[in-house]
Structure formats: structure tokens, C-alpha cells
Subunit: 207 residues, 2 copies
């Protein structure tokens, strides 16, 4: 009477990946969930279902649901930082401000980077991720170097642009929809804002 069923009898043959590949698979599913359903969708069962593995598999690889959260945050932060650095690097080259601005906004809007940031802020989790602080400093340093400006000015630039880009990336689409304007309108306006400032700072530089 205490005999376990010896065969799963579910037709699907079991998939076995390398540990790293499996982690990637799960993180991809989790990221997709976060991006288009919000942080509340990051339940163990939902992630497992989206990744098409058993709940226990997720726990096997990440230890706990919190472990998954942290791993996901770190991966997304790394992606975001790489994109932002690329945007900054692109800034000094051909010097078409448009392209660099687009790249910057893209970095914060694609794949829910802004949503990640919002999540980090709401939960206060970013304080525990050393990732974040290092990344920010790296960006400031690179902007100072590439843009050939003082550290202080670079810090200001990063600060205001990041705040603006996050606001646009997180709320831009929804706000435009609410007001009845096309989805890309917010980005246009934001870019115009930065251009106006750049133009004004040529005669006399502030911020």
C-alpha cells in the first residue's frame, strides 16, 4: 500500500539541461513575467510554469524564491548597465546627439529596465545589491572621461538624465495613452527637453 507509482506516465520526455542553461531558461521566463505582468507575477508556480519546469526545479537552482529574485535583479542590472555604457560610449563618436539620446532611452525602456528600477526602488532592494552602486560610479566615470567634463558636471548629467529616462521609460507609454497621444510622443518631448538644455548651455553652462 505504500508503493509509489514507478512511472510518471506523462508522455512528455524529461528535458535535462546543463545547470547554467537551466538557470538561463528560468531567468528568461521570470524576466518575461516581470516585464509584462509585474512583480506580483513572480510566484514560484508561475515562473515554473512559464519555464516549463517543476516548482522544485526552480528551487533546486536558486535555493529559494528570494534567491531567484536576486539573481534576476542582478542579471537585469548588468544588462541595463551594459546598454547605458554603450550609449555613453556612442556619445563621443559620430556626435549625432539624436542617436545617443535614442540609445539612452532605449536602454531604459527595452525589456522593462525601467520596471526593474521601479521594483528595486519600491522594495528598497537595491541597497543590498552592491552591483548597483558600482555600476553607477562606472557610468559617471565614463561620462566624465568621454564627454571631457568635470566629475561634478558628469554626476549632474547622469543624475538628471537617468531620472528623466526612467520616468519616460516607466510611465511614458501609459501617460501618452491616457492623454491620447501616440506612444512615442513622450520620448520625443524628452529628447527635445535635453536638446533645449544643451543649446542653452552653450553660451553659459549650467547643469
Amino acid at each position: 500500500m505504500s508503493i509509489r507509482k514507478s512511472r510518471p506516465e506523462s508522455g512528455a520526455r524529461r528535458i535535462r539541461r546543463a545547470a547554467e542553461a537551466s538557470r538561463e531558461n528560468i531567468l528568461n521566463a521570470a524576466e518575461a513575467l516581470l516585464v509584462d505582468q509585474g512583480p506580483l507575477a513572480l510566484k514560484l508556480a508561475e515562473v515554473a510554469a512559464a519555464a516549463r519546469v517543476a516548482n522544485a526545479t526552480v528551487l533546486h537552482h536558486f535555493g529559494s524564491i528570494d534567491g531567484l529574485h536576486v539573481a534576476l535583479m542582478e542579471r537585469m542590472i548588468d544588462q541595463l548597465v551594459a546598454n547605458v555604457l554603450a550609449a555613453v560610449a556612442a556619445h563621443d563618436k559620430a556626435e549625432p546627439p539624436e542617436a545617443a539620446l535614442q540609445a539612452l532611452f532605449d536602454a531604459f525602456e527595452t525589456r522593462g529596465a525601467a520596471r526593474l528600477a521601479a521594483w528595486l526602488e519600491l522594495t528598497g532592494e537595491w541597497r543590498r545589491l552592491t552591483h548597483v552602486k558600482d555600476a553607477v560610479h562606472k557610468i559617471v566615470a565614463q561620462r566624465a572621461e568621454r564627454g571631457d567634463v568635470s566629475e561634478a558636471l558628469a554626476a549632474d548629467m547622469v543624475l538628471i538624465r537617468a531620472a528623466l529616462a526612467m520616468g519616460v521609460g516607466l510611465f511614458g507609454r501609459s501617460l501618452a495613452e491616457l492623454i491620447g497621444l501616440p506612444p512615442g510622443r513622450t520620448r520625443q518631448l524628452a529628447a527635445a527637453l535635453l536638446r533645449a538644455q544643451a543649446a542653452a548651455s552653450k553660451p553659459k553652462g549650467e547643469a
Copy 2:
């Protein structure tokens, strides 16, 4: 043996409020939790404890935890809208742009209005709250009227300013802290940005 304890015997005398006052009390506690611990802290038990009532009392007044969430969102939205409208109204009077800008940023930063917005965005809940759409239209209309500009221009102004103010309100403090600048720096820079634009739009108006 099936006798219930007939006396609660807990020394504290039971507090009985008018229904409306009780709802307010609970909403206040919930709002405080949301603001300084994030949406994840909005559990039934935590809210009840913060409001110093029993779990069942919360359910009695709001039906379910979701009911509480909706009620809280609506109340916070109303507060935010009132503040923004006041800021817009203040704009045409004495015409010190500084004061109006400060009021605008205050509206999005105080009492976690920006955090509310982020929560609404992340969960997608704002689509179900007719509150939001009405409020936005009211703001656009009032800006067009008070600022004596076209509807289209007013819409653009509201769009970009809201996005900026939300970005600043939500991430401003944390970003400044990360970069190593004083907490109010983000607001200063944002105000400077808007001023630069206003200056540039005098000769030829765009956005």
C-alpha cells in the same frame, strides 16, 4: 465542552468608531505602509496591526484585501490630482515659475504619490480605475485654460512634465544618494531643465 470563552479578558477596552472614521484609520495605516515599506507590505495582517484593529475588521470594511487596495489607490489618486490641480492653478497667478514648479514636484514626491504611480503602472491596475483617466483629462483641460494655450500644447506639457516629475519623485532621492549628491539635487536639475526649455521657447515655440 463546547463553551466559548465569554470574556476577552484582554485589558484593552474596545474602540468603536463611526464606519467612515474607521475606514480612514485603516487607509491611513495602509498608506503609511505603502510609502515606507513598499506594496509588498500591504498584507492583511500588517495593515491591521498598523491600524491597531483585528484582521477581520479590515475585511468588514473593505470586503477583501483587494478591496482595500482599490480604495487606497483611489484615495491616493484623488489626493494627487488635487495637488496637481492646485499647482497648475498657482501657475497663472503670481507667475513665479519657481513656486509653481516646486508645487508640482511636491505633488509627486510627497506621501509617496510617485510610488503609488509606480505601483499602478507595475500592476497595470490603473486601467481598471476610471478615476485616472478622468483626472488626467481634467488636468490637461485646466492647463490649457489657465495657461491660455492650445489643447495640443497643453497635452504635451502635461505629458512631459508628468513623466519628469514622476521620474524625479520616484528615483530622485535614491539616484542622488547613489551618485553621492545631496537629496534635493535631482529636483534642482529638473527645474533647471524646465526653465531652460521655457527660455528657449520664447523665440520659437516647440513642445
